[in-house]
């Protein structure tokens, strides 16, 4: 769906018909893949943009295609929030030409009202209806207003025990549970585990408020647990997938791989392989 939205957005931004047609066929292919995936498992795989902090767009697209993941949450180092329309247009076109759909923007940190405004404006220009973000708690009222006025959802991201704002999914949930239903969570399962909260239980408990996931593994369920390949650490992935099936999760399971970030393709491949193996075995 976000492919189509990108396509429409790119038309609005002024790509001519001749340029758009080949893009359409490529994004249609990407959407087709995502549908196949969804049909098989009920769960959709994506990539969190931070995974590619050390890579340019071309390399990021190549890695995603190599591991057959077509949906990306776009990070600002690939497209700064204050980019002019032509830059936005060219970056979106580059991803679309590479067969990659931008399904969300983020993670975006928001410490001021102006930053909240900028994030929602950026999401709109990028043609997505989901922001993965970290608005300061005192900005949640204002953020909720923006959600209502734009119909763009926000998935608030937890960041582990060292984080002052949202160490665990519970810290997010407690502040958003009574708000508009378009205000929800991006559960980072690694940080959640390090913060002592079982991500599978959090998924079931927060149910429809879980909009997005950051998938990784950690070496230990303590503050100093290190990020690692999915399956090598302490997280119980079969339990997580069963929890996602239980709530009929419709969001994206996005890999955020933070080990060996300059040479991450093998770790990403192992991670998505493991997760697909778990999904296939459980079915759903």
């Amino acid at each position: 769906m976000s492919s189509r939205r990108n396509f429409l957005q790119q038309s609005v931004l002024g790509l001519g018909g001749a340029a758009v047609l080949p893009l359409l066929s490529k994004t249609a292919m990407a959407a087709g893949n995502a549908q196949n995936e969804s049909k098989e498992s009920g769960l959709q795989l994506g990539m969190a943009g931070f995974t590619f902090a050390k890579f340019d767009i071309e390399k990021s697209i190549a890695i995603m295609n190599r591991v057959n993941i077509k949906s990306l949450s776009l990070k600002d180092f690939h497209l700064p929030l204050n980019s002019p329309p032509e830059k936005i247009q060219s970056v979106l076109a580059q991803f679309a030409a590479g067969g990659i759909s931008i399904y969300a923007v983020g993670v975006i940190y928001m410490k001021t009202k102006e930053a909240v405004d900028e994030a929602f404006e950026y999401a709109k220009k990028c043609g997505v209806s989901l922001i993965v973000g970290v608005p300061n708690p005192e900005l949640l009222d204002y953020t909720e207003e923006k959600v209502k006025s734009t119909n763009i959802r926000i998935a608030i991201h937890n960041h582990g025990p060292e984080d002052k704002l949202y160490p665990s999914p519970k810290n997010v949930y407690d502040l958003i549970k009574s708000r508009d239903e378009r205000v929800g969570l991006c559960i980072d399962i690694g940080h959640s585990t390090r913060a002592g909260q079982d991500p599978a239980k959090a998924v079931v408990e927060y149910n429809k408020r879980v909009f997005d996931l950051h998938i990784k593994d950690v070496s230990a369920a303590v503050k100093d647990g290190k990020a690692m390949e999915v399956g090598r650490g302490v997280i119980d992935f079969p339990a997580l997938v069963r929890a996602l099936n239980k709530i009929k999760f419709k969001g994206m399971c996005s890999f955020e791989f933070e080990k060996d970030m300059s040479d991450s393709l093998p770790g990403i491949a192992e991670s998505e392989g493991y997760f697909r193996g778990v999904i296939k075995t459980i079915g759903g």
Copy 2:
């Protein structure tokens, strides 16, 4: 166990104590990893040497360590069958120093009695008790004699519908089922699938005669099916793992990755990740 055997063999071959001690600690580490794996899943992962046809020993060791697989079936391009003792000693020492155990030799093709003799002599010099091989059918009586006189087992490898000798596991089994119980099969699950034989059913049917596995996926269950990453093709890996658990398989599940052979690390990583995810989910 094969680590220890290698170590003893290397001692026999004349490595001095000073050189041996650091090797011992590394091979002990490798054995430790394998035991952990075994404890968790009941199944042990290895690598079929042919995966590394385009790589030298150093690169092969690096890839195996990257994907955390420590057991290798040694292929002749890394150590020719007619190698002198010093060459055998140095190659075994190189693998041991890299934390890799040689659990078998092969695949070795045997078209003459002399080739059978050479294969068993080679296995003995390498300190392993398993040959993955393809003796011509008319040499099976002689091969069985060698198995009895050396106590080295042979796992006969099937090679798909285009193969004149052993297209499917059934073609192997029919010729060995009445022989010494140390004559068995290495089921190549990709070739078996292309030959129209379900590898999970073959595993259950041939049970204790299955000594080794070559793990891969194929795009279609037809002669022209193409090798690909585990989980992307048509093979039902949960069914395979359940079959292996059912027969309490004690052999090695060795990846033989034959796609992108000059740039295979991502595909190997995805494959072992998927297989581990299936194993973890099923348990056993």
